[in-house]
């Protein structure tokens, strides 16, 4: 089993205390988060689960520094985000976070390599040559060395998501935030993507994975379940799946009929 023994608690990457977030829709106030405490250590692979409206998306937005909480603390890799301005938050996202989305969000008519380079454009310390090299490395890490010049419309869904993962890796973030990253993919491709995440995790990457699919969550090391703005439970996965093993057991001619 891959990376199961992550219990040796390392440095704390994400520290959340009594986090609250309200939304005002007309005259109604929706309390999306009602005081959440959460701690994620380096090297963890955490699944955030919950039904729609449970607050998991709001949680992800705040963890991704895209939104500020109304109350409570969020400390990311030693930085208290409450004290930062909008521009400083952008810089924080650029240096410490990687995003993977359900719908890939690749730039159309832009090669895989240039898509992966994108985050480094917003880092003035990285020169053009280094930017290219790092993007090539990231694409190699997701197994797409031979697809660097392909446009998104020339790639399959799984390959597009791999490009997106390479993009999230290119700035060497402290944590990768994935939002329903397998939501648009079939079972086999989902497993392949989870295998990639497991591989990255085994190399030490911290991953926070938002999903509503219980079987996908079984690939992670810890499941945190949200309900009505609270954490319902947080439990380590005892019988964790290995995506590589699962792939072996899938029938090969699942979709494609050979006659």
């Amino acid at each position: 089993m891959v990376g199961l023994e992550n219990k040796a608690m390392n440095k704390t990457i994400i520290e959340v205390r009594n986090l609250k977030k309200d939304f005002h829709v007309g005259e109604v106030t929706v309390r999306a988060l009602k005081g959440v405490d959460l701690s994620i250590s380096e090297g963890e692979f955490v699944a955030i689960m919950g039904a729609s409206g449970s607050g998991k998306s709001t949680m992800l937005n705040i963890l991704g520094c895209l939104e500020k909480p109304n109350a409570g603390d969020y400390i990311l890799d030693g930085v208290d985000m409450a004290k930062l301005s909008k521009d400083q938050l952008a810089a924080l996202r650029n240096q410490k976070l990687g995003f993977v989305f359900q719908s890939y969000n690749l730039l159309p008519r832009t090669s895989a390599l240039e898509n992966v380079e994108l985050p480094l454009f917003y880092n003035n310390k990285v020169k053009a040559k280094e930017r290219r090299e790092r993007a090539q490395e990231a694409l190699a890490a997701v197994g797409l060395s031979d697809r660097m010049d392909h446009m998104p419309n020339q790639l399959s869904g799984g390959q597009q998501q791999r490009v997106a993962i390479a993009r999230s890796l290119v700035n060497d973030p402290v944590v990768i935030l994935a939002d329903e990253a397998t939501g648009n993919l079939d079972t086999r491709t989902s497993f392949e993507i989870m295998a990639l995440f497991q591989e990255l995790n085994s190399k030490g990457k911290t991953i926070v994975f938002v999903t509503h699919e219980a079987d996908i969550a079984r690939f992670t090391s810890r499941n945190i379940v949200f309900r009505d703005g609270h954490i319902l439970r947080s439990e380590n996965v005892t019988d964790r799946f290995s995506a590589i093993e699962m792939l072996k057991n899938l029938p090969v001619t699942d979709d494609i009929e050979t006659s």
């Binding site: 937005n61 895209l66 952008a90 996202r93 650029n94 969000n105 730039l107 454009f121």
Partner: protein, 406 residues
Amino acid sequence: MHISNLLKVAIYALKRNKLRALLTMLGIIIGVASVIAMLAIGQGSKKSIQDQISTMGTNLVFVMAGSQQRGGIQMGNSGAVNITVKDMDAIRADCPSISDLSPEVRANGQAVYSNKNWPTSLFGSNTEYLNIKKIEVGSGRCFTEKEVKSAAKVCLIGATVIEHLFGKDANPIGLTVRYKKIPFKIIGVLKPKGTNTFGQDQDDLLLAPYTTVQKRVMAITYFQSIQSSAINETKTKDAAAEMEQALRKSHKIKEGAENDFTIRSQDELVSTFSSISNVLTILLGAIASISLLVGGIGIMNIMYVSVTERTREIGLRMAVGGRGKDILMQFLIESILLSVLGGVIGILLGIGVSKLIGILMGWPTVVLPASVVLSFFVCTVIGVFFGWYPARKAASLNPIDALRFE
């Protein structure tokens, strides 16, 4: 983001939509090209008028008898007889800004040679007249000071008169032409000058010493006008002022009383006629500017569409670390690129069209460097102005909403 990266991103975005970028630029291209071409036509007409007026004489300042206006009533000056040799001498003595000075008298009648006759003007002047009026002697010679003094019956002849009396390309030197029954010996032929701004044939004349015309032809003692050249172009105003003083003194005009003569300079003529073509230039330019404005609005329109279309891209850029001002600059630079690139193409096209109009229509066109620089500047301003609102809209998007935008 570094400016070089911003440029790269903007160029890349435009390249992704080449046809659309080109169509958007078309508005600016047509606008700038028409501004350049219209201004070139206006300037060309102005220049050709100035050129033609300058053929009338060298830094010309002239005095006509009679005031053109007296107590608000426009007076003719045909009856005025008050400019004489005395005034000539006064001007000669008191006007340091004048180099050449000549009286002008003019008789109208028929020039006759054997069985042919032709209606023409006989001008009388002194020897300095040729310099003042930019008239050159083609062959033969001009009359001398001595011939002026003795009121000799000699004359110079213009090309039109030669053609009608002697036939084209004939050499009439030494022959005698009669004018109001007075025989004039032809001593020189004037170089052709062509038609002036007002459609007058400048070669339809005889030129003789003023004394001869005054005494023998017209039997008068006054001049119709005094023509003079200022030392240089900048001195024409001084020359006119000096002449006014000299003439007021010589005519003993009291302080505060109206002049009984009129002074005009070439400068005034130039500015009068230039103002007409200035109005033309402004009018043409203004109409063309409207198309430039429409081009700018086209850019704004497309930039708005582009921002909406690329909402998710904007969200993504923000998520991976793009700040509001990075996004603002990206879209602003895109619109500036569109307008400036369109402007450059438009300038080239405008210069080409101006040249083509010059060749095909035979209109004089002059492309002023200032109009090129101005167009370029205006394009940049249009890019910033019309790109600003769409860019600000892009920069103010909420990344979360933008990422989920369908």
